[in-house]
Subunit: 115 residues, 2 copies
DNA sequence: CCGCATCCGATTGGATACTG
DNA sequence: CAGTATCCAATCGGATGCGG
């Protein structure tokens, strides 16, 4: 596979590269994914770990990830209300991409990080 | 490397993941990179291959890539004026990332949506 | 505790016309 | 041929207050 194998003349939503980009699109998205890669977390836990992320954007990100079926939301009964977010199998499928992003970024910075 | 190894609490420019995301940021960027992965190309050749990409955005992308030293511009003497754009070694370093984007996107499209 | 509604400034990408 | 200059609509992300 010499390159990204593309032949499209413009960014089309069904191009695989665009699909992957859409999955991680938006500021904070990769950080939210990283947190969920550690295991399921509640809305508040995510806020604690990403304190400067506003509730609006966090909700937007979670909704987008949920719509793409990368994340599942689970309402937990009890008091106070709690919601747990966790990765789906599809969400887990993004792990190699995040690793590759890290590896590539580290290489660009000058480090010889290999993954 | 179990995850993206991150510890940052917000998107910081020096986080490797952010570095990589910045390198491919912006609509059309991955398509421009893909074209250059085939080999050097002139401004006009890029326009021909990406006909609906406006001159302004193409120039912006090329400038950004050049600033990050992923692409080199070379002015060719002669008439008419020609400019050749080519990948640097750093630019070539993005190839595995593009491949991974393709691979991941293809998996998401083809894979089922199991929880 | 969870998350939506609203407002707002900044950035983006596209169209188009023009210049060296 | 290889860009730059301008304008503009749309989107984005952040702040904040309110509702379930």
């Amino acid at each position: 596979m010499p390159d990204a194998r593309g032949r499209t003349a413009r960014p089309e939503a069904d191009c695989p590269v665009e699909v992957a980009l859409a999955a991680i699109a938006g500021r904070w998205t990769t950080l939210v994914m990283r947190e969920l890669m550690h295991g399921p977390a509640s809305y508040g836990e995510l806020r604690d770990r990403l304190p400067t992320l506003s509730p609006k954007v966090l909700a937007e990100r979670l909704r987008a990830l949920e719509e793409r079926e990368l994340v599942v939301r689970e309402r937990l009964v009890g008091f106070p209300v709690r919601t747990s977010y966790g990765l789906t199998a599809r969400g887990e499928a993004l792990r190699p991409l995040l690793v590759e992003l890290y590896r590539t970024g580290a290489a660009l910075r000058g480090g010889g990080a290999s993954g």
